[in-house]
Amino acid sequence: MELFIQQTVNAISLGGVYAMLALGLAIVFSIVRLINFAHGEIMTFGAYGIFLALAFGLPPAAALLFGLAAAVVMALAMERTAFRAMRGADVVSLLITSFAVSEILKVLFQNGISPRPVPITFPPAWSGAYEVGGITIGVVPTVSIMVTFTALMGLSFILRRTVAGMAMRAAAEDIEMLRLLGIRANRVVAVSFALSGLLAGIAAVIWTAQRGSVDPLMGFFPVLKAFIATVLGGLGSLGGAVLGGFVVGMLEVLAQAFLPDSLAPYRDAIVLAAVIAALLMRPDGLLPAASAHRS
């Protein structure tokens, strides 16, 4: 029972990280049709931001905020320098552009900082555990779940209730029409990148709090999983991305915890097989993007 509850907490915590990354990918994809494979490097950059802020002696809380800001700035810089010029290009050209951005950043991290992991040490109190009814639960997974849900609710509020959010939803449907209403499309796209960067920054904070280090390739695997989550949820569907993120995270933790040792090396294969099986049954994903009909 104890193991089950602990693993459930871990599963929701990991799923939440994937959900935030997947949501960031989905927001940008829904508006500019870009599958941003450099999203992982936004996350990595955020983590390096934390590392540098700590190295310069900032208090831990300030360092986390600095990391978030670094991720947002990186997302905006990517949009401005690489993707804006490619606006309206086909999906494949955009995808290849994002690969290029991703590679360039990884090389810069390797040569500019270090090819090896650098440690990020938070106060010991942050990495403790607490007991509920005789069951020990980690502080970091618990806090990360709370942070994740706060972020997801905040984003949902922005998308549903603010004009900027409405503009983003409208842009996903018909960005030219948005411009014909006089709404600055570049600004809407920049806001979507900033939000996607913020979510990647939050993911970076949680990820580094759990692992205690950052390396140039840090963002690759989580974002790969997040990409799988967006496909599972339904490419371009925001709700689907969140659901897909949680499903992938949970499958991964459950496979890790409860598979017999002899099957452990096939963990990812088993998770991916489950995803493929789900897509065979629902080819458009679990929660497909609503296709608004124009008659």
């Binding site: 004009v163 409405m166 503009a167 939803r169 409208a170 996903a172 449907e173 018909d174 030219e176 029409m177 948005l178 411009r179 014909l180 209403l181 006089g182 709404i183 600055r184 499309a185 609503a290 608004a292 009909h293 124009r294 008659s295």
Partner: protein
């Protein structure tokens, strides 16, 4: 500079090597309705979208209320006082009726004014008021057209571009749309009306331009064009 709401001179629009609009001249006098007629593929929508800043202009000029807006962005053209109810309506189906209006009102950069405008629109088009919380994609074709017009009016335009507002609507709805066009003209809004329904458009218009194969085939007073049976047979038969 004359004070015309819209002056299009020698306008050219191309899609690669294909010329969709060739040397088009077109005026909309202030407070009047100019209708742009022609068969499918005659270049009407290309012309209107170029005026709205959504198509690249390959040649010629567009001036709006005496200001040269050739090649300006769609966003800046809205700020020059132009709004469009485009072909196919293009309302945002996944947003509610009210959100469609609120979003369009955001260019006013005055939340209170935008709120008042939106309330006024829902009074003017009661069906939008009744369905304010519904997703716009669930409205009927006629209701979507009302929303497209209301949405265009949110930015308080002085020149309204309407591209095939009657297309695919029931006759009763078509009458309603044309009654709205008449009302807007009386309020002093200049209108460029693209229509395939030539008979109705010529009834409401002060000036008419007929396009064929991307070029101006005829222009003049609606009464004259209506009686030109040859022109009618050649270009206006639906």
């Amino acid at each position: 500079m004359s004070g015309n709401a819209l002056e299009v001179r020698q306008l050219e629009v191309r899609y690669g090597p294909v010329r969709a609009a060739i040397k088009i001249d077109l005026d909309v006098a202030p407070g009047s309705v100019t209708t742009l007629l022609g068969a499918n593929g005659a270049g009407k929508t290309s012309t209107v979208m170029a005026v709205a800043g959504a198509r690249r202009i390959a040649g010629g000029s567009v001036s709006i209320f005496g200001k040269d807006m050739t090649g300006a962005s769609a966003e800046d053209i809205v700020r020059a006082g132009v709004a469009i109810a485009p072909e196919g309506r293009r309302i945002f189906g996944s947003l509610s009726v009210e959100e469609n209006l609120r979003l369009a009102g955001s260019v006013l950069e005055d939340a209170q004014l935008a709120g008042e405008k939106s309330a006024a629109m829902m009074q003017r088009f009661p069906v939008l008021g009744e369905r304010r919380r519904q997703l716009a994609g669930l409205l009927s074709g006629g209701e979507q057209q009302m929303l497209a017009v209301a949405r265009a009016l949110m930015s308080q335009p002085r020149l309204l571009l309407m591209d095939e507002p009657s297309l695919g609507l029931a006759p009763q709805m078509v009458d309603q749309i044309f009654a709205i066009i008449e009302e807007l003209r009386q309020e002093g809004i200049s209108i460029l009306l693209v229509e395939q329904n030539a008979a109705l458009a010529l009834d409401v218009a002060d000036h008419a331009v007929v396009l064929a194969n991307g070029e101006v085939a005829a222009a003049g007073a609606p009464a004259d064009l209506k009686n030109d049976s040859l022109l009618h047979a050649a270009y206006l038969a639906a």
